[in-house]
């Protein structure tokens, strides 16, 4: 209990500290450049020029330390050995290219990239289109959206229970195998079947992300101007035609947002693989492989190199986002 009190205390201190900083720096600014007196007008301009930097100061500091500096430090580390001390040139990169487990992780990540965003978007669009038409749609939405609140590791336990496998002679307590047995098939150990096990892990992420896709796409569908739909109806289009030919083309922007957001998430997927297989049976992915080299391999150089590969894969989406932002402004 004490530490929760400590946490609350820290929170109060931090909030007061923030208020103190912003209020204090603003007060100091007023003291240095008073807006009354003979230089009043010039002083107001000077303090207005400085104030944005006071407002952004803490954010800039934190972003630099936690996100910008690490990018450069990782570049540095990737050219150095396991402890980060001795310079090794491109040895980590040549190791990476020839490493079988890296190839496996990379291919698996590509599989994840091909399947998870597509499936989540598809199911999200389906759920959005269907729930918008029925009276209990909001309850349905809430329930499909719910997995988003569940941690990846919690979701992994939930699904590990679904996939549970036991020998043929005992009763199955995993629902998937129970259904198979009910229909006369043999129970399968899903998690240890190479290639397929990755698909079973992907299902977990699809289960989590469909709700996100549904929420965004449902809002986009509702934003479609009524006139276009009315015109199509008058022309005799059936509901399916209206959906595929009128609605979907109008929400491409939102589909792209959903797709790229889930893509980023997929590149960073770590918890699910770690909890379900820890990369065994051919299911390794980059983020977990990087973690492996960091904590079990104790090799900062190789680990940082793998992290850079993830960064490189994220880069196109980053550029796309920034370009969109500039177009918008």
């Amino acid at each position: 209990m004490e530490q929760v009190l400590l946490a609350l205390f820290t929170m109060v201190v931090a909030v007061l500290g923030c208020i103190g900083y912003f209020w204090g720096s603003n007060w100091l600014l007023g003291l240095i450049y008073p807006d009354k007196g003979k230089n009043g007008a010039a002083n107001i301009q000077k303090s207005a020029a400085l104030r944005p930097w006071l407002f952004m100061g803490p954010a800039i500091l934190l972003l630099s330390v936690y996100l910008i500096y690490p990018v450069f430090n990782s570049l540095y580390l990737s050219l150095h050995g396991s402890s980060g001390q001795e310079f090794v040139g491109f040895a980590n990169y040549t190791w990476l290219i020839n490493d079988e487990k890296f190839a496996e992780s990379f291919i698996n990540n590509m599989l994840w990239l091909g399947i998870v965003p597509a499936a989540s978007t598809f199911f999200g669009l389906l759920a959005a289109a269907l729930t918008d038409r029925i009276s209990w749609g909001n309850i349905a939405k809430s329930l499909i959206f719910m997995p988003m609140a569940i941690s990846f590791i919690g979701a992994s336990i939930i699904w590990k229970f679904v996939y549970d496998f036991r020998g043929e002679e005992v009763e199955q307590i995993g629902i998937l195998n129970a259904i198979l047995v009910h229909f006369g098939a043999e129970p399968q150990a899903w998690i240890v079947m190479p290639v397929w096990n990755s698909v079973f892990l992907m299902i977990i992420l699809i289960w989590i992300q469909t709700g996100f896709a549904m929420v965004i796409l449902s809002a986009a569908l509702r934003g479609i101007p009524e006139e276009t739909l009315e015109a199509a109806t008058l022309d005799g289009a059936n509901p399916l035609q209206i959906f595929l030919q009128i609605k979907v083309p109008q929400i491409w922007g939102s589909v792209a947002v959903v797709w790229t957001t889930i893509t980023i998430l997929v590149l960073k997927v770590f918890d699910i693989v770690m909890a379900m297989t820890n990369g065994q049976w051919g299911s390794q992915v980059l983020a977990n492989y990087m973690f492996d080299w960091m904590f079990r391999g104790h090799d900062f150089g190789r680990s940082a190199t793998i992290a850079l590969v993830i960064m490189l894969l994220v880069l196109p989406v980053m550029i796309w986002n920034v370009r969109n932002l500039r177009k918008e402004n």
């Binding site: 946490a7 912003f22 952004m56 330390v65 569940i150 941690s151 307590i173 918890d271 960064m311 989406v317």
Partner: protein
């Protein structure tokens, strides 16, 4: 749209049934976990959770009373008792060899080796007879197939919370989450206001950097920060993880809040400026109160994210008994208690309970945050 659909009732039914199927697919895994976590731990591994409301059939191995309790009647040695020690049940079959555990029906008298006999009644009473004295101190093995009433209990929960250390982990997670949710909000709000309403050179570039940082993989930051923490002496501590979550949460916080604050009506801010308020006063008196919905959205995001995080906690907090958070505990249990479903299901449910409460009670803000974060940003 309703009018169009109304004409086509077959299609309406297809829609209802499809949604029902989707909802079932999306909820059944969690429901299974919840039901299983409430079941008796022996029944949990005997049958699936879906028939758990009917009686449960189980194959058990029981032992008769030890030789010391034997009676001698009319030249025979007898052992009596009941296979159900504490609760009632029904025996549907029994046997005395492991190869054929359910070979006989209750009430039969079965010949065993060396002239011994065994009889088990449906209510569990058994009778062993032997021409010579029993010698086994542990009693003979009795194989029975029994029907039990379903048992629902909170025992699994009390076990994980008090014996498995999940209670301590729950407090650790709270300790991490509370400051890590609140600290970024104010820092981000000031920066967001500057980016939305203050004129300064480089504003567009800063905004672009924030948007770029939104997607930087955290994997990138782990090693450099771990080294930095070791060098400056923060090490593995709550302070370190609070700051880390603050830093990693800032891009989303600034971006969400900037979108919202930039959308506030210009007239309010202009008129306050005309009245002689400076930016600090405008921010505190006008922007902050008006931005409550956006602040709430971000707070929920950050709360869920920090509460559910495993990666940052594993790297920046110790994995010892003192500092293990709930996600870390779950991961450890998956390794050490992989087959103990009563422990895994109850622990998982404890860990997802708080996020689910937050989710269902504050869903409105969550949805609003998602929409302002992505639809506009795209």
């Amino acid at each position: 749209m309703g009018a169009i659909l109304g004409k086509n009732s077959a299609l309406t039914w297809v829609v209802h049934i499809s949604v029902l199927l989707l909802v079932l697919l999306w909820t059944i895994p969690t429901v299974g976990l919840l039901i299983s976590s409430l079941r008796d731990k022996d029944q949990l591994v005997a049958t699936g959770w879906w028939p758990s409301f009917s009686t449960v059939e189980r194959n058990l191995i029981k032992r008769s009373a030890p030789a010391s309790e034997q009676l001698k009647e009319t030249g025979k040695y007898l052992l009596k008792g009941n296979v159900f020690a504490d609760q009632a049940g029904t025996v549907t079959a029994f046997g005395w060899r492991s190869q054929k555990p359910g070979a006989y029906v209750p009430g039969d008298t079965v010949q065993m080796r060396k002239g011994k006999t065994l009889k088990i009644e449906a209510d569990g009473r058994y009778l062993l007879t032997s021409p010579t004295a029993f010698t086994s101190k542990r009693g003979a093995r009795l194989f029975v197939t029994v029907l039990e009433k379903p048992i629902f209990t909170l025992d699994n929960y009390s076990e994980v919370l008090f014996a498995e250390g999940l209670g301590k982990s729950f407090l650790n997670t709270m300790t991490v989450t509370i400051p890590a949710t609140v600290i970024p909000i104010l820092i981000a709000a000031f920066a967001a206001y500057a980016l939305a309403w203050m004129e300064f050179p480089g504003r567009a570039i800063f905004l672009a950097i924030v948007v770029g940082l939104l997607v930087v993989p955290l994997q990138m930051s782990l090693i450099p920060l771990l080294k930095l923490y070791t060098n400056i002496g923060i090490g593995k501590s709550y302070l370190g993880i609070w700051l880390a979550h603050t830093g990693f949460g800032l891009p989303l916080a600034i971006y969400l809040l900037r979108n919202y604050i930039a959308g506030l009506p210009r007239e309010i801010i202009e008129s306050a400026r005309v009245d002689g308020a400076n930016d600090f006063q405008i921010f505190v008196r006008i922007i902050l109160p008006l931005s409550f919905p956006a602040l709430a959205s971000f707070a929920i995001f950050q709360f869920l994210w920090v509460w559910n995080d495993l990666l940052i906690a594993t790297v920046f907090l110790g994995n010892n008994e003192e500092q293990l958070v709930m996600t870390g505990r779950l991961r450890e249990m998956l390794g050490s208690r992989g087959g103990n479903w009563e422990i895994l299901t109850a622990s998982a449910f404890v860990s997802i309970l708080v996020p689910l409460i937050v989710f269902f009670s504050l869903q409105k803000y969550l949805v609003r945050g998602l929409l302002s974060g992505s639809v506009k940003g795209g």
